[in-house]
Symmetry: C2
Subunit: 149 residues, 2 copies
């Protein structure tokens, strides 16, 4: 059977970008937003063009990702049992052309790559605080994930 | 009596910046952090060089501000009754040279100005969701605040 390209629990939510004479306001996450699963921590990750971070799988944390600067490609792999088990989902978030929030549920592998020459800035509004014990890591060239960057 | 330059309830907290071959990770706010007062919303504000936003006073929201890109000067004015009533506090946050979190309690007026030629990006991890009814606004040239940009 052909594998699908969507993963159960992954949510893409369009966000407002308000442009002003003096600058801008970009929405990111509200307590009332779709995908909100409690607040643990918010942090930034920068990723240089053509550099790849991952693979990483959180087993408790719900990720809520936005890209306020630059462009980042995400690849998700569903290692859980269930309807979308084994699926790969690819998403490109961009501050200029696709400003959305990406919600990633626990149990899904993720890696991501910077796509702009300048700064590629990712914010994660995470449901729990950073805890290495709840995350698994695999090298990019692992045979456990059927994707090659 | 000479007015002081600190304001009761305003907190500056140094934050980690982890530099990596592929990019970086910058801390911003944890649930266990000093100054955390609940999660309502996180959003970004961009402010161009020499452009000023404000004055604005939140009457319920606690602001937790970080500047992951560029440099922003903040001016705070304490309009509350109490030990630091009438004080003005000036703070410059910079992703390059002063990466800290600025906590601003309710009842304090704020305005801020972009200082870098490029992007000046501010994140507010706010204790409540945006609600125009809990905020007051004054023009920059108001006589109610003894500060001139």
């Amino acid at each position: 059977m052909e594998k699908g390209t969507s993963i159960d629990g992954v949510i893409l939510t369009p966000l407002k970008q308000i442009i002003q004479d003096t600058g801008f306001v970009y929405h990111a996450m509200k307590k009332s937003s779709d995908g909100y699963a409690g607040f643990g921590e918010v942090y930034f990750s920068g990723v240089k063009k053509d550099c790849i971070k991952g693979w990483k799988r959180h087993n408790k944390m719900v990720l809520n990702l936005v890209v306020p600067v630059g462009e980042v490609k995400f690849v998700l792999y569903d290692s859980r049992e269930g309807a979308t088990s084994g699926n790969i989902q690819e998403i490109v978030l961009s501050s200029d052309s696709n400003y959305q929030r990406l919600t990633v549920p626990p149990g899904v592998w993720m890696s991501f790559c910077g796509r702009s020459e300048g700064l590629n800035l990712l914010q994660n509004c995470a449901s729990i605080e950073h805890d290495p014990a709840e995350a698994d890591i695999l090298p990019l060239e692992t045979e456990e994930i059927p994707y090659r960057w």
